[in-house]
């Protein structure tokens, strides 16, 4: 077969046309089809690992965006250490190396009884098992002044990497020296617990070089710093003395986008650049597919297979899941969900048993300057009594101090985890 033909076959249109045939790229008969919705840290890894471990299962990945853009490391775009291009990876190897059929579209509906999904373009695709990895949606309905497109252009979230990240960097570049950059943090749980505090470090890094009279003001809805407290407060004190101010119990009630004012319960805070990380819930498709089971926000799952507790044959991964205690909504955790789920899906589709002793790791690196990073790590194992994941006693921990070597390992982590999902 000519390579050109192969690419054509693997292209979205041909993939859709070929779907009912159930042929795998190995030429053998497929034993069934897995459809994955969402190609982030969880979904892309799940698609790859199902094919890696079971070439007799056909895998279709439906992803809205043309390329993957990483949230981890994206705060470095704010400090100037990275461009969005550095964080962008193509989906092409999922097709060429692993035979995943990548379809760039949005899923508009899931029919759990008929086992089909519907794409925005109108086609339906049937599945034997569905893996939903939709990430998060923002709850703008909780912030009246931000609940329109115009306000959202002025007050950015930059909590999904891409155009918003670049736009926030531009706002910082345009800010006057002596200005206030305010970051609003929602109540936990939210995506990437250390991320807002890393953002404060990296914004301060940029401002210290270019606008040293400026301030970074953190308005945290939580009663204390949610992650790596000692390491972040040390960085603020040692590296950016007098620049970073932290305020606990400062939940955002409303926003005036025209005056860049954050309205808190007892006071109004005016900023020069206002960055609101809104409260979050599982991505929209989780709601329409009937997967939300907790607090109207998150999807409950069986941690041995990541199968939804609400819908059979549908698995949910990553930030959209109801996290076990202490298990953060991180890219690393999403990658680990994907592999436990892929192993379970392969076992179930082959008529086997689900593996009952999964161990998964988490490591979140955060930069505190353009070169130095810190981490928090943990290992979780399945707790059969509580039907949850629990950290293994005495494992895990924090960096003893920020260092350049961990800055290099953080970069190594990113390159390897991206290759583990897409390479």
């Amino acid at each position: 077969m000519e390579r050109r033909e192969f690419i054509k076959l693997a292209s979205a249109a041909a993939a859709l046309a070929a779907l009912p045939g159930c042929a795998t790229s190995s030429g053998g008969k497929s034993i069934g089809r897995v459809v994955v919705v969402g190609g982030g840290y969880a979904g892309a890894a799940a698609a790859k690992y199902v094919r890696l471990w079971a070439p007799d299962i056909e895998v279709v990945l439906v992803e809205r965006d043309a390329d993957f853009v990483s949230c981890p490391l994206s705060n470095r775009v704010l400090s100037g250490g990275k461009s969005i291009k550095d964080l962008t990876v193509s989906y092409s190897k999922l097709g060429s190396k692993y035979g995943v059929q990548v379809v760039h579209d949005e899923v508009t509906a899931v029919d759990a009884d008929k086992r089909t999904i519907t794409l925005a373009r109108g086609n339906t695709i049937s599945y034997d098992r569905l893996i939903v990895a939709p990430g998060i949606d923002f709850m703008y309905d909780a912030i009246a002044g931000l609940n329109n497109a115009d306000a959202q252009k002025k007050v950015l979230h930059a909590w999904k990497a891409g155009p918003q990240t670049v736009a926030l960097r531009k706002q910082l570049e345009a800010m006057r020296d002596g200005g206030v950059f305010a970051i609003s943090i929602p109540k936990a749980p939210f995506r990437c617990p250390p991320g807002p505090y890393e953002r404060a470090c990296l914004a301060a890094f940029y401002l210290k070089q270019h606008k040293p009279k400026s301030k970074v003001l953190i308005l945290d809805a939580n009663e204390d710093i949610v992650a790596k407290k000692g390491l972040f407060t040390k960085a603020w004190k040692d590296l950016y003395p007098g620049m970073v101010e932290y305020r606990a119990n400062s939940e955002l009630v409303d926003v005036d986008a025209n005056t860049l004012t954050a309205k808190l319960q007892f006071e109004d805070v005016k900023a020069d650049v206002l960055n609101v990380i809104p409260p979050q819930r599982a991505g929209k498709i989780a709601t329409s597919a009937g997967l939300i089971t907790a607090n109207n926000r998150w999807c409950g799952v069986d941690y041995l297979s990541y199968e939804s507790v609400a819908q059979k044959n549908i698995h949910v991964l990553g930030d959209a899941t109801l996290a076990a205690p202490k298990m953060p909504k991180s890219g690393h955790i999403a990658n680990q969900h994907a592999k436990v789920c892929a192993a379970a899906v392969v076992a179930l589709m082959h008529g086997g048993e689900v593996y009952t002793e999964p161990l998964i790791a988490n490591t979140c690196y955060s930069y505190v300057s353009d070169t130095e990073a810190v981490h928090v790590a943990a290992i979780f194992k399945y707790d059969a009594n509580g039907k949850t994941m629990a950290s293994v006693p005495d494992s895990g921990g924090l960096s003893s101090a920020a260092s350049d070597i961990e800055g290099m390992y953080a970069e190594g982590w990113a390159q390897n985890i991206w290759a583990d999902m897409l390479g």
């Binding site: 494992s395 895990g396 583990d420």
Partner: protein, 102 residues
């Protein structure tokens, strides 16, 4: 030119399926080792910036993991991760990586 690319593609695909068949032999050790891949690459094939584990001598990996656990070998993060695994689990993981082609 076209022939070369498709030959490379087919040989890549064969290696890919052979790898999958081999991995199926021991699902438990495969699953445990997959957790390491986030940092050390798929099946231990690191791309850059971290050590490759594929094809690592089993005895060396077991010894190194023990030294991470006890603190004999200094580390930034591996001492904290190694403590999450029992000796038996480390043995299984080391066995899996030793079997992977370098």
């Amino acid at each position: 030119m076209k022939k070369t690319t498709s030959a490379i593609y087919i040989s890549g695909l064969l290696a890919f399926f052979a790898g999958a068949a081999q991995a199926a032999e021991d699902v438990g050790s495969r699953n445990l080792a997959a957790a390491c891949a986030a940092c050390h690459g798929t099946n231990g094939h690191a791309v850059t910036g971290m050590s490759a584990l594929a094809g690592m001598d089993k005895a060396y990996m077991v010894k190194t993991m023990q030294e991470f656990k006890t603190g004999k070998r200094p580390a930034t993060v591996m001492h904290q991760l190694a403590k999450g695994y029992s000796d038996d689990q480390i043995g299984q993981i080391a066995e899996f990586f030793a079997k992977q082609q370098k």
